[in-house]
């Protein structure tokens, strides 16, 4: 293990200047894990480093998800051919600065990272039939300029509200700025009733951008198939439950639902999709 940073390097990658994609496992719509898993699979990456968990995660036991015991993971993968590095991790619960510093240490010292892409989601009250948007926050005016070539929303204004806190992505973007690493956080609004499920549309939106930006030449047709299947399942739930159809119709007409109606919609959709739709 590195004497300063709690990282283990399994194998030093050979890279010129790389791009780093960062995804968190806990994202809504499974965006972070979904996109990084997809990249890892398609780019045939190799794991080369990890951040040791003990300083950053409560290790009083293990969480069980979908019948399987989970343990916090913070791993780096590399695809030398495309000069892409993927960092997939649980988001830390403590020592955030030390953790993010360790991520950027690996990025600078082992990957010669020239650009950083951080994946994130936000809750949306739009229906799933509304096309997904991709919003961006850059850590420099130059980086924002670069993004001008793509179909992105680039003019977000935001200030933390009273009682709130900035996201981990903003924290990371800020530290990267301090180290002069150009970076951008990518935000996809996820329909609230898909927050705990897969949102293939959202994943495709991000992957489409990364594909173009990094010239990865990945065929995304399998994602189209997933999107079609999910849309069919959602159409089935609408036809089987007129009340759910009514709720989604109202969302499609930009009408708000009551808290109770939101809850009912979430539960019905989640139950239906989990049962295999």
């Amino acid at each position: 293990m590195n004497p300063v940073y709690p990282i283990t390097i399994h194998k030093e990658p050979r890279l010129g200047r790389s791009s780093l994609v960062i995804g968190w496992n806990e994202d809504m719509g499974n965006l972070g894990r979904g996109v990084t898993d997809y990249l890892n699979r398609k780019l045939k990456v190799e794991e080369f480093a990890e951040i040791e968990p003990e300083d950053f995660f409560p290790l009083g036991g293990v969480a069980v998800e979908d019948n399987v015991a989970r343990f916090p993971d913070s791993k780096f993968y590399v695809c030398p051919e495309h000069e892409v590095v993927v960092f997939q991790s649980n988001s830390p619960g403590a020592e955030w600065h030390k953790f993010l510093d360790a991520v950027l240490y690996v990025a600078e010292h082992y990957c010669r990272v020239r650009e950083l892409y951080i994946l994130g989601t936000m809750l949306s009250f739009d229906a799933h039939t509304t096309p997904r948007q991709l919003l961006t926050v850059a850590n420099s005016a130059e980086m924002k300029e670069v993004l001008g070539r793509y179909d992105l929303a680039r003019d977000m204004d935001y200030q933390t509200q009273s009682g709130g806190r900035p996201t981990l992505n903003s924290f990371l973007l800020w530290i990267a700025k301090g180290r002069s690493i150009p970076g951008v956080s990518l935000w996809v609004p996820i329909p609230f009733y898909l927050a705990a499920m897969e949102d293939a549309q959202a994943q495709k939106k991000v992957l489409g951008f990364l594909n173009e930006r990094m010239d990865l030449r990945i065929e995304l047709t399998d994602l189209d198939q997933e999107i079609r299947e999910q849309n069919e399942r959602l159409a089935r739930v609408r036809s089987r439950f007129p009340q759910i159809d009514d709720y989604i119709n109202r969302l499609e007409s930009n009408l708000m639902l009551s808290e109770e109606e939101n809850g009912e919609l979430i539960k019905k959709i989640e139950d239906f999709l989990r049962e295999g739709g």
Binding site: V137, M156, Q159, F171
Partner: protein, 303 residues
Amino acid sequence: MGIRLYQEPHLRNPILVASWPGIGNIGIIAVDALRGVLEAEEFGEIEPEDFFYPKRVLIKKGVLEYLEFPNSKFYFKRTEAKDMIFFAGEEQPTERGRMYAEGKKAYQMANLVLDVAEKFKCRRVYTSGAAVALTHHTTKPRVWAVPNSESLVPEISGYKNTVLMSDIEGRGGHGNITGLNGLLLGVAKKRGFEGICLMGEIPVYLQGLPLSYPRASKSVLEVLSQSLKIQVKLDKLDELDREVERSIEEFYQQIPLEIRGQLDRLRHVAYAQPTEPGPITEEEQKKIMEDVEKFFKKRGGGG
């Protein structure tokens, strides 16, 4: 992780007054008021990144403009009576969702504050906070004083409106000072500093409210001025007290009549002597505490 000093003022054996937020923000309001009245000058800070999660982000037209962290700042003031260093922490460096600082981070921060004190040849440290007590909000809060050495007890005994832990009913000289306001006192002792923690009383039924309690801050400041042999005008604190008083009264009227009846009896508790038990028996005190606890549990989360 470290200290950043913008200047190194020449100070003659200064004392350090440090505080962090806590119950009723009693200590931090007292320290802020004192340094405000004295027009103390900022001269340094503890770098925040390793201690805190950021508190605010500003994004303008899609570009991350600014990320703001909680402040931990040093100020100084030269006066004829004493030179002073103030330290005000905007937040306590908590870990894993706890309310007060504890563990490695808290210990590191306490040591950094004392590193600055030591650099300027300071040998005495004051901290301040809240003492949750069975008192009424219409009575003048006392100040509980805890020194980090027995040699300071005679001095503290001479302060007005101040009690030692051994004077507090039913405590037998024991107690805890939670968070950095307490920890700094201990670390100061370890490093050979004299230290005194001054805690203003806050009524037990106000401890869970998201309100400041400037009345107790004023009591703390009165004692601190005595100890430092300085005179300060406390008009601003009086003003703040009047504002908060209205919210407290509104809250008080929401307490069920039966419990309020019990609490009203505290209005008449006057501690002429520190050891005087007052007109409420121990049994009655226990009953009041139980009723207040039940009320807050029912309200959900104590405030």
